[in-house]
Symmetry: C2
Subunit: 352 residues, 2 copies
Amino acid sequence: MELTERKKKVLRSVVDLYIRTAEPVGSKAIAELPDMNYSSATIRNEMSDLTVMGYLEQPHTSAGRVPAAAGYRLYVDELMADYRLSMDETQSINNAIEEKMQRVDKMLEKVAKLVSQATDLPAISAASRYGGATVRRFELIFAGQGSVILVVMLSDEQVLNKLIKLPVQVQQSDLQVLSAVLNATMTGLSPEEFTPELLQRVMEAAGDAGVLVPVIMEFTAETLRGHGNTNMAVAGQMRLLGLPEYQDVGKAQKVMSSLDEEALSNLPAIMQNQNGTKVLVGPENVASELKDTSVVMTKFDIGDGMQGMIGVVGPTRMDYAKITARLSYFAESLSKMFAKPEQPQLPEGKED
Amino acid sequence: MELTERKKKVLRSVVDLYIRTAEPVGSKAIAELPDMNYSSATIRNEMSDLTVMGYLEQPHTSAGRVPAAAGYRLYVDELMADYRLSMDETQSINNAIEEKMQRVDKMLEKVAKLVSQATDLPAISAASRYGGATVRRFELIFAGQGSVILVVMLSDEQVLNKLIKLPVQVQQSDLQVLSAVLNATMTGLSPEEFTPELLQRVMEAAGDAGVLVPVIMEFTAETLRGHGNTNMAVAGQMRLLGLPEYQDVGKAQKVMSSLDEEALSNLPAIMQNQNGTKVLVGPENVASELKDTSVVMTKFDIGDGMQGMIGVVGPTRMDYAKITARLSYFAESLSKMFAKPEQPQLPEGKED
DNA sequence: CTTAGCACTCAAAGTTGCTGAGTGCTAAAT
DNA sequence: ATTTAGCACTCAGCAACTTTGAGTGCTAAG
């Protein structure tokens, strides 16, 4: 059977209406739409065809049609109308973003919350680093009675530190020697290169302050490894409860409990090699608990060797046009913000 | 009317049973309890009295009794039996806690999750600092092409850093002068003492590196202020959905949406001057959205000038004995863990 | 090819009556 | 003077039944 223009028009109308109402859509409702110049009987025939073709589904013998996954897919790919953000919407997104964001993890939490708020759906945000960082420079500061502060400067402009306490006294001069050795041997390495042999060599070269070496190496390796990882945040899971499809607490609970960082951790990975906005409709989702939900996600630029991603999880019936538009705008605004020269070093070495 | 021993016994039984079943409790059910040596009619009379006295409530003319807020209060204060933790329970709490906890905010998230898991209810955790920290020492590290790393060591053993980029070149020697000036004039001060006059004086004394002073001062003041604040985390809000009282999505949503950091921010404050475990029953809660829930909370010791707090939010019908026991044990174990010499510097200067 | 008309289906929303748990009161038993 | 058995009464919850109305598929006429 061929997918005529009229069939597409009917399908689009059905999806649009279903997105608005969450109720099965009947032929009469479609026939009464403003620019639908056919009678309900004709629509009925078309809907019947669309059902056979797999774009629509019938919950019961007699009670309207509902879009099937394939229907949503087609809708997202070619049928849906562009959604134009209103001034109000762009305004409120911009206002929300305009704050300073201090640390990556806090930033992600904030962004997830904002996206969730802007879409009234659960949202996730993630940041991952492409290419591992290496140490550019070590610095040791003598901090009195057996304490030493280790400062590590990474290749991506981040600075980290650690307070090390020792049972033994170390001389200021020993520290100078050690820091020279560290800078000579342990910079520019990936965490895999921190082998026991290296440890051995550095300790021998370091002399009296050698006791510090194992702690330093462990801290550094761990930090570098941590920096290769993806950081993510989820927010607004509870917004699902506002939707008619989750009035059944059992269902809501099942879906919501699978909306945590672990279950969604594959989403950022999917985005890695994608560009623009990606929509996963229902069963296209990996996790089986999410087979009745859709995900819309997009990338943004953080700079400093990091790639950001924001996404929204909602019922398959979500307003793809609107959500996609808002998400894209969000991503654009975030990229702009991070590109601003005033705060070039977002993931700055600050903490509390 | 007098609250006889028998009335107390009946009241306790009613609360116990209601906690278990979440269904209104009838006189017959009480009369059939193992060591209740009276007939249902007698119990009926007692229950009628307890209702008049405000300890019980009747949802409809004819359908069991339910504890009123005053009833829960009395139950918590004197009636409830001690709950003895099983080996399993202590074991699993200990296992959960035994990991290294790196940063305060991450630690709080983790603890909130663990408590929530251990009680199957939403949980909160918070850490606040008593007495503000001051700066013990400043250190400036030259980091090449117009970059300087500022390292600040606080009186509570924490170490923070910030990468500062400058449009102008600064000499290594200038940094030495500046750090001497900073250490001479800006240590041991509270954030309020960072006045414009001080800024003026330090900048004059600092010479060529004076351009750095405003940035340094702002960062320091902000950090110190941040350190006076309370940090908190909430987890497991969704667990409410498992409870019969929140099968109605509307209710669940209302309560859950008020379970965020903002709405609960007064709880840690309440604990400040309290000792041991504190229970807030229903209407005793401050937020009106929580008037049908109870809160159990307790303190624990973090060390390093910090006070921790964990709490659980649940229906007024929650199993106070069990929850209280688990929470106390949790707090005890956490205190012990933080007191362990192996990891004395928990909130260590590490970040990512 | 389109549409009006009609018989058919079925979920949702009443309607009714029953059941059972629970109460309060009274009068008998202890 | 308590305690308890007995009884009439109340009321939520459930199940069976009916009604309603939205929706369908098919057919025959436009």
